[in-house]
């Protein structure tokens, strides 16, 4: 059995180029976790949405992408997006479809949440936001 964290990427999120780089890294890790094409597409799309949020709302940040293996042997991918931006004053509102403070469609957070299995959002106003998402291989 291989180490649960054999694949791990840490990528800075500042520009549009970084979003493309993140999509590639997530695809590689999802392939290593033997995810189906549909699940891989969902995960990469979620990563793209969350990375865009980090740039648009958090003023840039980082993402950590890692392969997981659960105690029962199930493979998965976890992504942790962090920024030191203004934080989210009303999390419930931010997770509502169509609500946006930026120019987007307001689908970023709620949309990404639907595309993954586990979604956790920690935010402190004035300090930053951390979004952790996990998708398991079926």
């Amino acid at each position: 059995m291989t180490d649960a964290h054999e694949i791990r990427h840490e990528i800075r999120i500042a520009t549009g180029d970084d979003i493309v780089r993140i999509r590639r890294a997530v695809r590689t890790v999802a392939c290593a976790a033997r995810m189906s094409l549909v699940d891989r597409t969902k995960l990469v799309t979620a990563a793209s949405e969350l990375a865009r949020n980090v740039i648009g709302h958090g003023g840039g940040g980082t993402v950590r992408i890692e392969r997981l293996i659960s105690p029962s042997g199930v493979s998965g991918v976890r992504m942790v997006f962090e920024d030191a931006g203004p934080g989210i004053p009303d999390v419930r509102l931010a997770l509502t479809d169509g609500w946006s403070t930026g120019q987007g469609l307001g689908l970023g957070l709620p949309g990404a949440r639907r595309l993954v299995d586990e979604f956790d959002l920690q935010t402190v106003v004035g300090e930053g936001t951390r979004v952790t998402v996990t998708k398991w291989t079926r």
Binding site: G16, D17, I19, V20, R23, R24, R27, L37, V38, R40, T41, K42, V44, T45, S48, E49, R52, D97, G104, L105, L107, G108, P110, G111, A112, R114, L115
Partner: protein, 129 residues
């Protein structure tokens, strides 16, 4: 920055996206298309996304924007070749792309625009049915 080439066949402009789309590339494509539609008087635009592995809300919004813009310039846009996994993901994301006309492949897209198969004869796809 990569620029997506725009081909012209009759009065249809043809765009085939072959790279992982960067935001700037999509925005440049929108501007290039607007300019080409006006300059050539094209009546239709086909955007082939067969090679596109993911469409997120930004890219989806751009495709919808291109469709709306071309309509204002009297040209219809058809997006062709969306992968099944992309379609499934877009719906779950919450983006139905209601204003964007789609077709399964290039040939069907061209027929929708009244351009038909370029050889003019009956298409193989029809014969097989």
């Amino acid at each position: 920055m990569d620029r997506v080439p725009i081909l012209k066949a009759g009065d249809v402009l043809l765009v085939s996206i072959q790279t992982d789309l960067e935001d700037r590339t999509v925005m440049a494509l929108r501007e290039d298309l607007a300019e080409r539609i006006v300059r050539t008087g094209a009546r239709g635009v086909v955007i082939d996304i067969t090679a596109v592995e993911i469409v997120d809300s930004f890219i989806g919004q751009m495709l919808a924007g291109i469709a709306a813009m071309s309509q204002l310039l009297d040209a219809r846009t058809v997006v062709v070749g969306m992968r099944p996994a992309v379609a499934i993901t877009l719906v779950e994301l919450g983006l139905s792309l209601g204003g964007v006309q789609t077709a399964l492949d290039l040939e069907t897209g061209l027929r929708l625009l009244g351009a038909g198969p370029l050889d003019g004869g009956p298409s193989e796809a029809q014969d097989r049915r």
